[in-house]
Amino acid sequence: MNYLVHIAIMIEIYIMLALSLNLVLGFGGLMSLCHAAFYGIGAYATTLFMLHFHVSFLPAVAFSLAFTAVIAFLLSFPALRFRGDPFVLVTLGFQIIIYAILYNWISLTRGPYGIPGIPRPEIFGFQITSIKEYFVLASVFLVIIFIFLIPIYNSPYGLTLKALREDEIAAESLGKSAFRSFLTAFVLAGALASIPGSLYATYVTYIDPTSFTIDESIFQLTILLVGGSGNLKGPVAGAIFMVVLPEALRFLGLPSSIAPNVRQIIYGLLLIVFMFFRPQGFLGEYKVR
């Protein structure tokens, strides 16, 4: 039972990540490879606020959100000078740099040793300890993110981002500032990615930089590519599929020595198959170029 609840929590965390990445990729059409970096900044910021400044959980989440937003804001200026492949490469650069900082700034992050003993969240005096309580907490955050995103997805702002995704030159010729819309999308996406980061850190109570690598960024991108982007259901479907798949593969009875490798190969194959047969993902509304 706890195993299933654990999977449900991971699904929720990845839905949050996919929904936030969707603002940049699904709406703006910008393929960002540094989403795991924002996720990691959120996780580390929350941890450090809680451990060093003895801030309780909710304020720590809020501070991390603001901190990640500031980082995303600063990064957006160099990144948004580019589109297409160069944008992908610039965000890849950010991902590498932020990972290197988490890994090497040992006095702050303990680097490869990671940070153990992260306190469990305490909300209004209620200590969250059991995995089921944690599931409820993650669900509450997920619902809040949904309530926050629905009006954005269905707004002039959402339509503007879609128009820019479709054809930036045409959209600008109709009075839309690409820079302004992309800037807000990039900052919002980065900031929102910090929330699952906060939840992850306090859920597993131990973080190290290997959870926030380029592989993780690619995994999050894969969720959107498989589930489909540009709407709300695609990221949800993708997150469920991509989290459940490796668990389901465990029951194939592969020898444990090759199981992880087979899983990696299946991920790779899946991406290729999707590009061939369903480039817009399960439920997406446009093909990622």
């Binding site: 054809d167 839309k176 500032s177």
Partner: protein, 255 residues
């Protein structure tokens, strides 16, 4: 009258020493359809790029309604109600026909992220959708409103792009080869629409780049003939098309 127009003064643009547009001076007046004609590579599309801010001129000024708009970014020029139909149309293919029109109807403030949470957003959007439907009726695409725009025929896409310009509230419509690639019936529909737009609002300025001379004679009040980056003739359509140089250089007729 002069103050309402779009004025171009001594505009030049060169690429690696080659003048695509050289010392072009022209004025486009409200209530008129003007045509830019000339051989390929004469600088007509470049002139459009300069007016809409896709390119920055090396020299010269663009004045609209008395404001200097030279060198503004494209989206700011669009906010001045100067709209453009691209040669390759550039509709938003993965959005519905209705969405294509709707998204040109919002102000900068309404397009901001924070407006998503304003209580009056719903009403603003409802009004925009109604208005977009009216515009689709005007261009004759009302029946297609829920189709993916990429599924429309090329001619319908041009009509949609014009509806989008009207949604923007464009007072100046710069149309790059609006009738190219259209069937005869679609071309007639589009020309009727253009005439109607100017007839209903005599503040509007339409400039077309056009290669079809019967179209030019049909709709244009005023014609500029461009060759090698310069305007070498201008005047009433029949006069320009009758000029010796135009006939030789462009129409391939002997005078």
């Amino acid at each position: 009258m002069m103050n309402d127009g779009l004025m171009i003064k001594g505009l030049s643009k060169s690429f690696n020493g080659f003048f695509a547009v050289k010392e072009v001076t022209a004025i486009f007046l409200p209530g008129r359809i003007s045509a830019l004609i000339g051989p390929n590579g004469a600088g007509k599309t470049t002139l459009f790029h300069l007016i809409t801010g896709e390119l920055k001129p090396d020299k010269g000024k663009i004045i609209y309604k008395g404001d200097d708009i030279t060198g503004l970014p494209p989206w700011k020029i669009a906010k001045k109600k100067i709209g453009r139909l691209f040669q390759d149309v550039r509709i938003f293919k993965n959005m519905t026909v209705l969405e294509n029109v709707v998204c040109s109807l919002f102000s900068s403030k309404e397009e901001s992220l924070f407006f998503s949470f304003y209580p009056k957003k719903r009403r603003v959007m409802d009004i925009a959708f109604e208005k977009a439907k009216d515009l689709l009726s005007l261009v004759g695409l009302r029946k297609e409103e829920n189709r993916r725009a990429g599924e429309l025929s090329f001619g319908q896409q041009k009509l949609l792009a014009i509806a989008r310009l009207l949604a923007l509230g464009a007072q100046v419509l710069l149309l790059d080869e609006p009738t190219a690639g259209l069937s005869v019936s679609m071309r007639e529909r589009l020309l009727e629409l253009l005439k109607r737009i100017v007839a209903e609002d005599n503040k509007k300025i339409i400039v077309v780049v056009e290669h079809n001379m019967s179209v030019v004679l049909n709709i244009a009040h005023w014609v500029y003939f461009m060759n090698e980056g310069k305007i070498s003739f201008f005047g009433r359509a029949d006069h320009v098309l009758g000029a010796k140089e135009v006939r030789e250089l462009y129409l391939g007729l002997s005078a």
